[in-house]
Symmetry: C2
Subunit: 477 residues, 2 copies
């Protein structure tokens, strides 16, 4: 396992050293990880990367090498460096399970730990969760557009480095993709891999027909041919049909074709007609070439004859919106065993956090559709046998009452006193859970553009706490 302990911003370490010098480093604090805007400009976000975050925490330690490097910076006392040598995470972490759907401002991961530990992990936590959540969400959008057709993740060559390609492939499968082309991801995460041949295979042989026949010879039962190296309709499809005929004579059923350029609507429908006429019905017609959820939705509505999608660059980078802005904010600090809620005001009002040690509860109707989420203080309880009244945290006159509902607390313990409580799940099982989660959402929240806003309310107690802290801080200038 890689040692990512130094995968942090230098200011985490200068602060740690400062807390250590001021002897407040052991103070127990509560930090929340949350985001302020959904991934991909959409209506929801799939939380992904919990497994890698757990690995990171389990492996947190400063190697001799790391300490030597830190010493070379001439910023830290020897006493502090000796203290880091014994660093070990001993706190509590609560988290939603991997694949859970979350909404803006809801605590996803809550860390309750000595200050120096809670502070150090901020950067890596965000790097890991932000990226995988982004890609899982993007993949779910692409799969939504593909309306049940298989979607394959093909983006490694345009990914933002090896990890992005590999963890991105994992996240894409969790978000709904059927498989990836990335072999390393297949090996590391036990996810299905796919791949046939490139244009270079066709160019290598003297003619396209030779190339197709050679491919069919080697993979008679898995013959899917890339037909656009020279000309799809005048050369690629006629040659593919010749080779498919040869395969049929030997008793093999060809798999299909792939298109990687041109007008995919026109080429796919013409190709399908030619294949159908030749007796090759129900083949896979795979398209690739700069696809995303919008192009797929458009091709679908135009009636393209594509039934399988290879999605590369725009999925693996979430090109339209290439970051999820997850943050990690101090919510409370214990002083003499008393919890003191903390708030950060800001010149940008949307950057003001929800103070206190909190939890999130999701409210479902009797059809198991999610109706609203309630962010509340950790020690609050809902009696779900009674009507529940919720109100909008900014437009407080907007309120509603639930009468017949179920509730679910979303966070569960990930670490308690530094002990890992996380149970590793196979990626394909997480993918199934994501589908269950998505099924609890009305389609209005999944709409690709201009989705409906999901209701995220604060409990009355939390709302009052926040308002009182805001008042106090604003008068305190």
């Amino acid at each position: 396992m890689r040692n990512l302990t130094l995968l942090t911003d230098l200011y985490q370490l200068t602060m740690l050293n400062g807390y250590f010098e001021k002897n407040v480093h052991e103070d127990l604090v509560v930090f929340d990880m949350f985001f302020r805007k959904n991934a991909c400009n959409g209506g929801y976000t799939i939380v992904c990367g919990i497994e890698q975050f757990v690995d990171y925490i389990n492996n947190l330690h400063f190697s001799d090498d790391d300490l030597e490097y830190l010493k070379s910076l001439n910023l830290f006392s020897d006493r502090f460096l000796a203290f880091l040598k014994d660093f070990k995470f001993t706190g509590d972490i609560y988290s939603v399970s991997e694949g859970t759907i979350m909404f803006p401002n809801e605590p996803i991961i809550t860390v309750k730990a000595p200050l120096y530990q809670a502070q150090l992990i901020e950067t890596a936590l965000l790097t890991i969760i932000n990226f995988q959540s982004l890609i899982a969400t993007k993949a779910s959008r692409v799969c939504f557009a593909a309306q049940g057709d298989p979607v394959f993740e093909f983006g490694l060559r345009r990914a933002q480095g090896p990890d992005a390609g590999t963890y991105g492939a994992r996240a894409a499968v969790i978000g709904g993709c059927n498989a990836t082309a990335n072999v390393l991801a297949g090996k590391l995460f036990d996810i299905p891999v796919v791949g046939t041949h490139a244009h270079s295979w066709v160019q290598k042989f003297d003619t396209e027909l030779d190339a197709f026949q050679a491919y069919a010879d080697v993979y008679p039962s898995k013959c899917l041919l890339l037909v656009d190296t020279y000309n799809v309709l005048n050369s690629g499809i006629p040659n593919a049909i010749k080779v498919f005929n040869n395969l049929s004579e030997k008793g093999y059923k060809p798999l299909g074709i792939r298109l990687d350029s041109g007008d995919l609507k026109y080429l796919s429908t013409e190709a399908k007609r030619m294949l159908d006429d030749a007796g090759f019905k129900n083949l896979s017609i795979t398209a690739s070439n700069d696809l995303d959820e919008y192009t797929i939705a458009s091709l679908k509505s135009e009636g393209a004859a594509i039934n399988s999608w290879g999605v590369g660059t725009k999925l693996i980078t979430s090109a339209e919106s290439p970051s999820l802005g997850g943050v990690y904010k101090l919510a409370a600090s214990y002083k003499n065993d008393i919890l003191v809620p903390k708030i950060k005001i800001s010149e940008n009002p949307e950057k003001i956090n929800n103070p206190g040690y909190k939890k999130v509860v999701r409210i479902y109707n009797k059809e198991n559709k999610a109706e609203a989420d309630l962010i509340m203080l950790h020690d609050e309880h809902i009696d779900s046998s009674k009507p529940l009244s919720v109100f909008h945290p900014i437009y407080t006159w907007k309120s509603m009452i639930f009468e017949n509902y179920n509730i679910r607390e979303l966070q569960q313990p990930l670490f308690i006193n530094g002990k890992c409580k996380h149970i590793k799940k196979p990626v394909l099982e997480i993918r199934d859970y994501v589908q269950t989660e998505l099924n609890t959402l009305w389609d209005a929240y999944r709409r690709l553009s201009n989705p409906k806003d999901y209701k995220i309310d604060l409990s009355e107690k939390l709302w009052i706490l926040k308002a009182s802290l805001l008042d106090a801080k604003i008068s305190y200038k």
Copy 2:
């Protein structure tokens, strides 16, 4: 060093197995890596990541683990897997040196190797070079906008995974950034790291003044304070001035302040006025918060009093254009020791490649400004004592003659017969080379929006070869 041998698309391995079965795997071939559109919608691209590509090639081997995984896919013969066990790169690779400025369609890396070797490395080569080149180019644009002010890379938490944050930090420094906040990147690549404190430091103490004073106590000679936790002008700056006065009394010079929200033009000019009035002139006024080259250029032109820039999300993801579309195409294949140039037609004309074994020459005027590049066949030579005539490869009537010029061949050997010829250079030395390179460009090519197109011409011999292959392929359908 990480084993990235499986960091490849499955189709590379299915093709390798096919070539092996057809016994053409040892055929010598030539592949070119190039891009079709500059990074960041700009006028040039800085090539970056060569060092990591060299590491990848040097470490290329299939571990027992890898082979066991490949066997489990039930796609490959035992004979082929045994062949992979002894895999070693034995070919030639020519490359521009890291930090070189390149333009569309120019061969950046040319691989001449047995087919199975040249094919396998495609994906990782592209993953490594595409991303770092993207970020180095983005960083050079941000630094251009900052007009010589220091620029710091702050993006790790929003990077697309650990590698993206870490190799991205390396690329950002190569592109011109002064330092990064990423400690791991600092350790791995020996680049400067920076960092002070976050909002959480301020929130942790009872008052902002306590927090600032505590920071000054611990870092009296490095005191840079984040002043926007509550209110910049009513609280942050007045408190900072109190602490700076205390520092001054003790003989320390404060470093400055950082703004991370709000109207950065207004806040910076007001903050500067207040600091100046208090006798603290020429301090660092650092700004962060969703910056990129466009916002920096705008703040500069508005007269903001910012003299140091922390750039995060939009730099580390190249948010506006988050991928560089580098490709790797078969250009030639040897048949009985005779080089056969290869071309790929396409439904998309811009996807047609330049065939043959090639090189690139840059033409400089006597003021050492780059005037044009010439892509030519590998065995062509220019006699620079004679006038040189070049013409546009599509609009062939556009031509010009150079009379007084110098030329430089851009590619140099990286590997010869599998032996590494690359000499590792410190990152800061590569950064200096990038500056030298950028100085050879007229500003029109560096313009942030709508830059001038740089001239990239084909030699007459290459142009004729391409035209004749196009004719032959188009008639061959």
